[in-house]
Symmetry: C3
Subunit: 461 residues, 3 copies
């Protein structure tokens, strides 16, 4: 009650400016941290505990009572106790009848129990209004006051009024409540803090697999081959040269894989003549992780840029350059400028720079705070128009880099083509199919299908 005291009261008893007492069951780490924070926000707090003797750890301004006494003092009871001990609440069922019980618990594993902790609590105390909240907040963050990570508190519950009361407390604590609907959402909310980048799993596993494949591919072509046939030790290529082949190859393939599902979806819709059939499951999942695929591709592209820019500083490159020049000087010959080479070299560098630049732009617009400030038309313009332009530029960069080497026999050591040639397959397919889909004879029906038209309608309004 450290804050209401300063209130010089008006005539009528105004209850709206007295914050209601909050009861917390459990004086463990999280209960105490939460109690401390709630007191700071102006609510009277009472702890319910088996052990009611005062302790230095419990915030001074809070009372510690038995569970039953504490529960009677408040309309909201926060259950800061582990699920295993919930059954001690059964004898209190009568006192808890009509009260708002806030389940803040977490599990150790995803889907550890058949039902969520909050639903279990609702079963144990059927007369109470159970609300799930605060499980995504860490005791440490509450204590230290630093909330560098998320300020979002997911809230769910079947009783609208109870949920509203809890959300008011969340807001008073300086956190952002997010209403997730009924108590059915509790399972998902309880799983949330146990997740480790679930959307990133597929893109990262895919890129690890591709990295491993291309690493051994390049190892064979660029280190083992010259060692076997020319007895040269290029083992140090493992450090920069080979990564700098793998990175652009992966960036290009992953970027193309961002746009492939859209193209596949268009073909499926054209074939079915409707948009009202669900896509196959794998396609749905693929479409949902396109953003992550694109960002992994951007990471590889960034590494490629860094690896490329350090080329002139590398000891090996400096040695090769100076030995070439020295041999030219010793042989007393000056080479004229090869304009074709100058064109090719400058073109692939310029295409790469522009492609990377657009790629970074795409990455910036995918930042939550930026994408929140664009409307759908702008978002689609950036992600689709600029995205395809990026893909075209990056594919052209690779094609021009290849230049006239595609037909040179030395590019096929042990019948293995250069890695960059392999990387061109997926993007070229995507671009060709997309190009075909732009033709009016395909684009028109597709647009109509996407606006709701059906070739064999089953439904009409």
């Amino acid at each position: 009650m450290n804050k209401n005291s300063s209130n010089i009261m008006a005539l009528a008893p105004n209850t709206s400016n007295k914050r209601e007492t909050v009861c917390i069951f459990g004086t463990g780490d999280f209960g105490r941290a939460l109690g401390h924070k709630i007191i700071q926000s102006g609510y009277p707090v009472v702890f319910g505990s088996r052990n009611t003797q005062p302790s230095s750890l419990i915030p001074k301004d809070a009372e510690v009572l038995s569970h039953a006494e504490a529960a009677q003092k408040a309309a909201i009871i926060i259950i800061a106790i582990q699920r295993q001990h919930y059954n001690f609440l059964t004898p209190l069922a009568e006192i808890l009848h009509g009260k708002v019980l806030v389940d803040v618990s977490n599990n150790l594993k995803i889907n550890q129990y058949p039902e969520s902790n909050a639903e279990y609590l609702a079963q144990l105390v059927p007369g109470a209004k159970v609300v799930k909240a605060f499980n995504t907040v860490s005791a440490w963050a509450l204590q230290s006051g630093t909330l560098d990570a998320s300020r979002q508190v997911f809230v769910c519950g079947d009783d609208m009024g109870a949920k509203q009361m809890v959300m008011d407390i969340v807001r008073a604590l300086g956190l952002t409540p997010l209403d997730q609907g009924s108590l059915l959402a509790a399972q998902e909310i309880e799983n949330y803090p146990l997740q480790l980048f679930p959307m990133w799993k597929f893109p990262i596993l895919l890129s690890l697999g591709l990295t491993a494949f291309f690493f051994f591919y390049c190892l064979t072509r660029d280190i083992i081959y010259p060692y076997v046939y020319e007895n040269k030790d290029f083992s140090f290529f493992i450090v920069i040269s080979i990564p700098n082949r793998i990175c652009p190859v992966l960036a290009l393939i992953l970027l193309a894989l961002v746009y492939l599902p859209g193209v596949l979806a268009a073909i499926i819709q054209l074939y079915r003549g409707t948009k009202y059939h669900r896509f196959p499951d794998w396609l749905d999942k693929w479409m949902l992780c396109r953003k992550q695929l694109g960002l992994v591709a951007l990471a590889f592209a960034s590494l490629h840029v860094l690896y490329t820019l350090v080329i002139p500083i590398r000891s090996f490159v400096r040695w090769r350059q100076s030995s070439q020049i020295v041999s030219q000087a010793l042989n007393n010959k000056t080479e004229p400028l090869n304009t074709t080479n100058a064109w090719l070299s400058d073109s692939y560098l310029a295409l790469g720079i522009l492609g990377f630049f657009l790629f970074v732009l795409l990455g910036i617009t995918s930042l939550p705070s930026v994408s929140n400030n664009v409307n759908w038309r702008e978002f689609r313009f950036v992600q689709s128009k600029l995205g395809y332009l990026t893909l075209i530029l990056c594919t052209a960069h690779t094609l021009v880099y290849g230049g006239n080497r595609f037909l040179r026999p030395s590019s096929y050591r042990w019948y293995l083509p250069n890695a960059y040639m392999l990387s061109l397959i997926v993007p070229c397919i995507v671009l060709v199919v997309k190009f075909v889909l732009i033709f009016p004879c395909l684009d028109k029906p597709l647009t109509r299908i996407r606006q709701g038209w059906e070739r064999n309608p089953q439904f009409s309004e």
Copy 2:
């Protein structure tokens, strides 16, 4: 009602935990998607349609009734129908009296009709409380559940209570309602999703114009001139060398244009002796797109950095370098280190690096989530102090780059100075005027004017 059922009710009949039925007129794409999402959030939904036979596309938990029947079941009716068909609502006027009608429609063009769709709806059904909402949300986003783009829902309407009810639904859907005021704002809200980066139009057109000008300027000086007089084919300069002249020139000019309107405004205020006259319209518009100008300038600066860093990898540069060294070796001469050159070269590189670094910092602080976390003093410190420091560093970078070339006749081919010399005009003017404005004899009256003082007061409190 799939969610409230699980609620084992307390003693008093608590109506607060029953969500009110929502009616949706129209079973088209958007209506169904919205209905589906609203059901998921715990609201009972009833569709009003001409065709009341069940369809597989309509969410199972929703009833489909005639328009009149459906409207009677709910206090809120979402009109998910195109504006052209609104007149079917006229016969329903009596039933709709006192109801909340939510206009979710969009147009195909900006300002397509003289009045907004929502205002038109309010005229058709004068007894209803019309609220504009949801028009910025895409059906696709609602269906797929991925809300990568904006979660903001603009809401406006003349009736506060009606607006509040709609905003509660928006929040329950996991979206963020933004109250835009009365129904007069509907026109703007309807135009919003049709916009394509309106604030960026001027900066981008300006930079395209300047790019075209400097491209032909450099083409003349660097490719046509040597071709005519020295018969050398430097056409490949188009790819990297010329872009790498245009980019820094544009970055510098655009950055100076960010600070020019502030300087002009100060002069105007000093001349008028008051801050209470509006600036000319062009100056107001210019000041509002300074952030966008700055970000376009940063884009050109980033390209300049990339183009510069690939210089040593370019085939032409390697050829030039090696032929220089070979000719030195053949002529048996070693050049001593020119310390002045080393100083100049290192200085302009260092100035450029520091300028670019500060420029990127400015760009990062303009990210919405970052600028939201700084107070006004900090924002002004970064955007004004650091901004001017960036301008000074970039101008110095260009000046030192010029070095002693300003006076060399070879810099003026066909009487055309180098492009970078032209780029120095605007920043130098800005810096000189700003420097003059810092003098106390001008700074003091300006500060007083900005605090509200007037030389010829027309108003006193």
Copy 3:
């Protein structure tokens, strides 16, 4: 009361859609700007002023009355007057009784008065409900309509209902209210707009101090020493070479200082056998500015990258390279490839690239909008696991860079080791201690302590 009546309500005069009149005392800059914006948001506004004659500057739609008359027309009165003039409110105490007074004032200095302006106001008019708000919004931003900086409005007050009314106005203005608790928070809210990056002070001062130290250290070793002993003028090293030694050294030291307090805290907790004793004050403060330390380290690392990438363009480096090659050619000798050198050079570059890449990733995840979208497990994974990996990579980068130079006597001019050797001290200590702490014999008790276990328990639940 403006929300409860929102049901169907038609016939009876619906007051809920009339916004309540807002009164503003003071017709100065801020008062007028705020009034203008509040009128735009649909509220009737009345100004209270000593001078009630109409003025062109006051929004047309607003009345100007005497203070007493204006106050009687509204339930909310915004006091847009400086603190020095507050005493004119004393005679109005009776009229203001029960009204909501909004204090929008700011001071010129932090903690200028013993009590906050809002608390002073509450003392002067004891019958009114004082709410602090709007002091973080600038008049200029309200006038121009551009809110590039923060949209957050901190609100505090002792009366919940009054606070709610003010927060509704804030929302209607398109701003985001943040409830900061009781009027005790007013002091902090009034200090907020006067702060200039308070969290950054220590990291920036520390890095300035270290920069100065290492600058003179390198100056001595790299410029004065060769000048004294070899009479060579390398003064131009000041521009790029020396900054490029200072930057990586500072980046590494500051990055290690981010992880040092965590290691110290673990040792203290292990020693004390409990986590329930407060850390010493300096350690607490240090832990709170770790994010800022890390970002400053990232800034130095970025500069290091830029300085390194321009190396091949530097005039001095080109001269050194060409004179080496020319002398090789003149001496008619070709050097074979030194594979060890190639390995070392490529390795330290690759380690640096990977370290910098992870460092940038860490920086991106510290953006507020990104960190808001990860849960605690993900946040800790990124900041701790990836953070230590970054530290390991950067330390390894420096160690490999040193290579076999550690034992070469020429590295110790005037008994001064190279700067990078000094920079290795802190990171190596952190990594070694962290490595020791991973051993089960220390990790297990530490984990238990952090879960609340105590070696000498003083408290039990």
